[in-house]
């Protein structure tokens, strides 16, 4: 390949900047034009206020058993999309593993990061000791109440995962590894996704073939209600928590 000299490089970057700016201005202008043309949100004539939203709101509770409409929507009505979304997470985890697994941080960064994690930071350790249990409890609460109140597997899992990260940062990875290592994180992710996949496959199959699914919906508002949604929320929560933690761990030291 021909060598590109510095002058040419400079010229390229100037042209690149100008063209990129023009393109961005065009994109922004067309979107702003669109915005003026759009129907007003929350008005009666907004096309979004149609049969679809109506049924979600009016008969959502009796059809899905979930008091939280959003949970009913994403985990029951449009469960296939959510199944795809959780596989996006799975794919992302796999790609980060491909990239970072077995990657050894260079000497300098090791020198910088490793002592910091095991340093006796009294303030951090003391606060983490109090905070971590509450963070985990709150995360579990958000996951388990996903069908009753705002929240669910994705947000609750993120809270639990951040609790794990805080624990790892303040007490060191060695102690975390005792219960969350490559093997256990892998098994948790695998089992949760497998349960998710099989449960949803069952529900898709029975739904499409017009069979009775035989899953009781329970009384709306009770903790054990809304059929599969609770189980799916727990599975998603596990996957998200493990994903968050393993991302952090992989980026920090190249292994889970």
């Amino acid at each position: 390949m021909d060598r590109i000299n510095n002058n040419e490089k400079k010229r390229f970057y100037t042209v690149f900047k100008i063209v990129a700016t023009i393109l961005m201005i065009c994109l922004a202008a067309s979107l702003i034009i669109c915005m003026f043309d759009m129907p007003r949100l929350f008005s009666e004539e907004h096309p979004g206020e149609n049969v679809v939203a109506e049924r979600y709101i009016e008969s959502g509770i009796e059809e899905t058993g979930a008091v939280n409409f959003v949970a009913g929507m994403i985990l029951d009505y449009r469960a296939f999309d959510t199944f795809g979304e959780s596989n996006v997470l799975f794919a992302a985890t796999i790609c980060v593993m491909v990239l970072l697994l077995g990657h050894k941080p260079s000497d300098r960064s090791e020198h910088e990061t490793v002592p910091r994690t095991v340093k006796n930071d009294v303030i951090l350790k003391t606060i983490a000791k109090f905070a971590v249990p509450f963070i985990l409890m709150f995360g579990i609460y958000v996951i388990l109440n996903g069908h009753l109140s705002p929240g669910g597997g994705f947000s609750g899992g993120a809270i639990v995962g951040s609790g794990f990260i805080l624990a790892a940062v303040s007490f060191g990875f060695d102690r975390m590894e005792k219960f969350l290592n490559k093997k256990s994180a892998g098994i948790i992710t695998f089992v949760s996704l497998l349960v998710y996949c099989l449960a949803k496959s069952y529900s898709f199959f029975t739904g499409a073939n017009h069979l009775e699914s035989g899953i009781p919906l329970g009384t709306p508002g009770a903790i054990l209600s809304s059929g599969l949604i609770l189980i799916l929320n727990i599975c998603v929560g596990f996957v998200v928590a493990c994903t968050m933690y393993s991302f952090f761990s992989l980026m920090r030291r190249g292994k889970i």
Partner: protein, 509 residues
């Protein structure tokens, strides 16, 4: 409801389950599971397509207990079935032909992850093909993008990671534009299901409202999908991604991944926006001109590049130009020709990459001048490479010839488009001949590899664990010959495929 209607759902779920279980399996078990899953999917798709062809109409399948505008649904027609068969063939043969490359270039502890990504890719492509809901389409585009990155960077050296980053950035811009288009479309129609959007866009178009918005939406979504499939002004990620990654990755990326997006674009035109509305926005002209530019510029770039796989990657740019030109002709025959070319080009390009693997050995790429005489050392690969090259050039009896003929035929009724299309096909064909015949002549030339001196040099540089074993050589040979035979079959008897595609497109809207 017939049991056979479950097959699209089964094929998606089988691939997903195979991907999941590869996570826990060793590399050998993962390879067997992945190939088995894709093979089962292939069988299911063949049965499904045959059944659909006899039945002559498409069906929708409810994903869950709620009917369409509330729940998700997938749709299967003959077009979808043919596309599913085609992606399964490419994926399966890439895995078998690229065994050596996977064994030598991928870290041992990560080989099961490669099979995992392949299965995930296949599942998401199937979902993308079968989807009847534009947001489901977006979700699976995302999986496709991430899995595509994984396919490139599984090699895990600097260049592979750099090209994966480039692929990811460009690809995310594409999916971002598609997402913006989807949200805008939702806010003017209030629907995500393809049929409902179609009817309400037709209503809006008839009433004359939102004409600017519809144009912008169409343009955004088209540009987004063409960025992801590598149309001409956005093609700069292609050569790096295809030339640097390992053999099965480049075969799959060029053969099926970029084609899935083009299929989604065709679905968008016929099932979401509606052909007449799409035509009135003028985006067809844009696609047509970009396609012609890609045909010429891709070929010129291929001539300029002196390396085999890089040249093949640039040739991909020009062939994607053909497909987009077919869509841009803006009639049904053009769309049929475009889908026909999606299939022929997917099969041919993956065959080129697989055959080229024998010549490059463990090196990443090989200079075209170094090919001299290698055809005598690898007779099977050289023969299939030549067959694929002839097919791309458009030599009669090969599938590529039929594709080019269909494209030219489709343009005859379209006024000014005819001149552009015919001239572009002529010029591009000549350019194709220039760069592919250079390779073929080099392959069969005497003087490079026929002395003993060369043999010892090759043996010395090729360490034993990098050389393909006898078993790997055999299945590589079987896979490439099989692909070449499929290509020849389509070239000899295109009637079946074209009739399926025409019928499939008729029940599309």
């Amino acid at each position: 409801m017939d049991f056979i209607m479950n097959f699209p759902f089964f094929s998606i779920m089988i691939c997903m389950l195979a991907a999941l279980s590869s996570f826990m399996l060793g590399r050998k078990a993962a390879a067997i599971v992945a190939k088995g899953a894709i093979f089962i999917t292939l069988v299911l798709s063949v049965v499904l397509t045959g059944w659909l062809h006899v039945r002559g109409e498409s069906f929708v399948y409810m994903m869950g207990h709620f009917p369409a505008p509330w729940g998700n649904e997938i749709r299967a027609g003959e077009l979808e079935g043919v596309m599913a068969i085609f992606t399964c063939i490419v994926a399966l043969l890439s895995l078998t032909a690229g065994k050596t490359s996977i064994r030598t270039a991928v870290d041992k502890s990560k080989q099961n992850l490669f099979y995992l990504i392949t299965c995930l890719m296949e599942a998401s492509l199937l979902a993308l093909i079968y989807t009847n809901d534009i947001f489901t389409g977006y979700v699976f585009i995302e999986i496709n993008t991430i899995a595509g990155c994984g396919l490139i960077m599984i090699k895990n050296n600097g260049r592979a990671i750099a090209s994966a980053v480039r692929y990811m950035v460009v690809s995310l811009v594409g999916s971002g534009l598609f997402l913006i288009g989807t949200t805008l479309l939702y806010s003017i129609t209030g629907h995500l299901l393809m049929e409902n959007i179609n009817s309400s866009v037709a209503e809006i178009h008839a009433s004359g409202n939102y004409s600017v918005t519809i144009t912008i939406i169409t343009a955004l979504m088209t540009v987004g999908l063409s960025i992801k499939s590598g149309l001409f002004p956005f093609h700069l990620w292609i050569p790096d991604a295809y030339a640097v990654s390992i053999v099965p990755s480049s075969a799959m990326l060029s053969g099926m991944v970029s084609k899935g997006y083009i299929f989604l674009l065709i679905k968008l035109i016929y099932r979401v926006i509606g052909f007449d509305v799409f035509r009135s926005t003028g985006v067809f002209d844009l696609i047509f001109v970009a396609g012609i530019a890609a045909m010429i510029m891709g070929s010129v770039a291929a001539i300029r590049s002196g390396y085999l796989r890089r040249m093949t990657a640039y040739s991909s740019v020009s062939q994607i130009g053909y497909i987009f030109m077919g869509i841009g002709i803006a009639n049904e025959a053009g769309a049929v020709a475009a889908i026909f070319h999606i299939i022929t080009h997917g099969l041919t390009k993956s065959l080129l990459f697989m055959s080229a693997a024998s010549f490059t050995g463990k090196k990443e790429d090989i200079k075209i001048s170094d090919l001299k005489g290698l055809g005598h050392k690898h007779p099977v690969s050289a023969a299939t490479f030549s067959a694929a090259a002839l097919s791309i050039v458009g030599f009669p009896l090969f599938a590529g010839f039929i594709a080019k003929m269909l494209l030219a035929n489709a343009s005859f009724t379209e006024g000014w488009r005819m001149y552009g299309a015919i001239c572009a096909i002529a010029v591009s064909t000549i350019l194709n001949v220039v760069y592919f015949f250079r390779c073929i002549i080099n392959l069969y030339a005497y003087g490079g590899f026929d002395g003993k001196e060369d043999e010892t040099a090759v043996v010395a540089t090729e360490e034993p664990q990098f050389a393909p074993t006898r078993y790997e050589k055999t299945i590589h040979g079987i896979s490439v010959v099989l692909l070449a035979l499929i290509n020849l079959y389509i070239g000899f008897a295109p009637k079946l495929l074209t009739s399926i595609l025409t019928k499939g497109l008729n029940v599309f809207d």
